[in-house]
Symmetry: C2
Subunit: 256 residues, 2 copies
């Protein structure tokens, strides 16, 4: 059975989408025949734009349809340039998901419903979440085996952790007891600053933190612009190497 | 009558809160007796944490109460260390605002209702918005005279502009004809990169862009950690100077 991994943090701009793109690309390159899926749950459709090259998928071919209880079919699963990597795109209509999910009895379980058949087809499923603790993000947490939290060394990013941990505790208690926090990882990270040296030990006491930090690099922005993952765009770069190391750590944590 | 200025962009982490903190601090230092207000509309309460030194305000003293139609009173207006600067704090309960606002006939107008008496007391009111085009952000746009859009030079940040412009057009047509886009400004900006040189001309064609770009500086993170604005923490820094220049440009644009 495939594992489901949510990238979530209600703090905006911490690197959720970037991690979903890079880690899924690495996963898809691991083993012939072992398929990987990315589900874009953000109305911004950033992961969709990079992995599928466009963002204008109709709602009925997107993750919006799954939240609407439409029956999952091959029209939702879009192939990418990588043989083993598929994407269920986001849609601008996801902005409206909040209102129909809030109004329904099974609003928190819609995504989980659609994911069960997919876990047989895909070895890893990455969920890219919007920057909020909205019902869409709750759907992701209810459907996930593991939560991966991208984190910047910043007051605002750290202050959000309490609300995230509380939300996870409630989801575990009420809806999905198997959900585990795989850990947090530092993004756009510069270990040399005083800020980092002062704050990182404090973070470690608060949440399990992967050893590998992802450095800031303009190559990431350039790769996004060219709709490429970092391994195609700058395979020998430090940031590509950091994502490879993080991937090994994450796989260890979730295979355990 | 005071002017209302919304800092909004559904792309996360582009510098909305930072701009609200820095520009409001500058505004409050302008003229004796000319009061300035910041309203934190984000459940993350980042602006609240820096300007008021804590984030645990009860819902009935926060912006949540205004969205709940509670009558505005002095218990919502919290003084800061600066004589002329006041804050209506955010609250974690804002996460729930979406559900009751969506369900009500006047859901889009709640904030505007509370703001009309405040425009007589304050010369400038800054609204710090969450990273989404949710009903809370719509409340801010419906209540505002001007929209200020912080923008990073990045594919994801730019792609969000279309949805933002569409939302503004709808708000102008249906709810608030006086809403104007004062302009966008570049944050965490390095003009020397190839990326910037390639993208900035394209941005200018798409949206009015202030001349002043705000450079990236770790001093901003450090100031936030110490709950200070950049002018108290590092008054001679390049980033403090950039915010001063941006402030002059913004004031020109909205006084016109
Ligand atoms: N290691 C990195 N180095 C440089 N830039 C990065 C890095 N990781 C992410 N970025 C850039 O930082 C910005 C934020 O990253 P990203 O969009 O992945 O975060 P997010 O958490 O998904 O944002 P949102 O909350 O809006 O969904 C993007 O412009 C992205 O290209
Ligand atoms: N000029 C700058 N230089 C360096 N860091 C900055 C700068 N401006 C903002 N930051 C940092 O970048 C991060 C994002 O900024 P900020 O939180 O203000 O953005 P935001 O748009 O309000 O985010 P959100 O979408 O989560 O509300 C914060 O950690 C902040 O301290
Ligand atoms: Mg994202
Ligand atoms: Mg903010």
């Amino acid at each position: 059975m495939g594992k489901v991994l949510a990238l979530a943090n209600q703090k905006g701009g911490v690197g959720k989408t970037t991690a979903a793109i890079e880690l899924s690309s690495l996963a898809a390159a691991q083993k012939e025949g072992s398929r990987v899926l990315v589900i874009d749950l953000d109305s911004q459709c950033n992961a969709t734009a990079v992995l599928l090259g466009r963002r204008d998928f109709p709602a009925e071919e997107s993750s919006f349809a799954l939240l609407r209880k439409e029956k999952l079919s091959s029209r939702h699963l879009h192939p990418t340039s990588k043989k083993e990597l598929f994407v269920i795109p986001g849609s601008i209509d996801l902005i409206e998901a909040e209102s129909f999910l809030l109004g329904s009895l099974d609003g928190f379980f819609r995504l989980q419903e659609s994911l069960s058949p997919l876990k047989k087809e895909f070895s890893l499923i990455f969920l890219d979440c919007p920057p909020s603790l909205s019902v869409v993000t709750i759907n992701a947490l209810v459907s996930s085996d593991f939560l991966l939290i991208p984190l910047q060394v910043s007051k605002f990013s750290l202050e959000g952790l309490t609300a995230m941990k509380d939300t996870v505790a409630t989801v575990q208690k009420r809806y999905n007891p198997q959900l585990k926090i795989a850990g947090a990882f530092l993004t756009m990270y510069d270990s040399r600053t005083n800020l980092a040296q002062a704050m990182v030990p404090e973070i470690r006491q608060y949440i399990p933190l992967f050893k590998t930090g992802i450095p800031r690099s303009v190559l990431i922005e350039e790769a996004h612009l060219l709709k490429q993952d970092i391994f195609s765009y700058a395979p020998k770069s430090k940031v590509a190497e950091a994502f490879r190391q993080l991937f090994v750590e994450v796989m260890d944590a979730i295979q355990g």
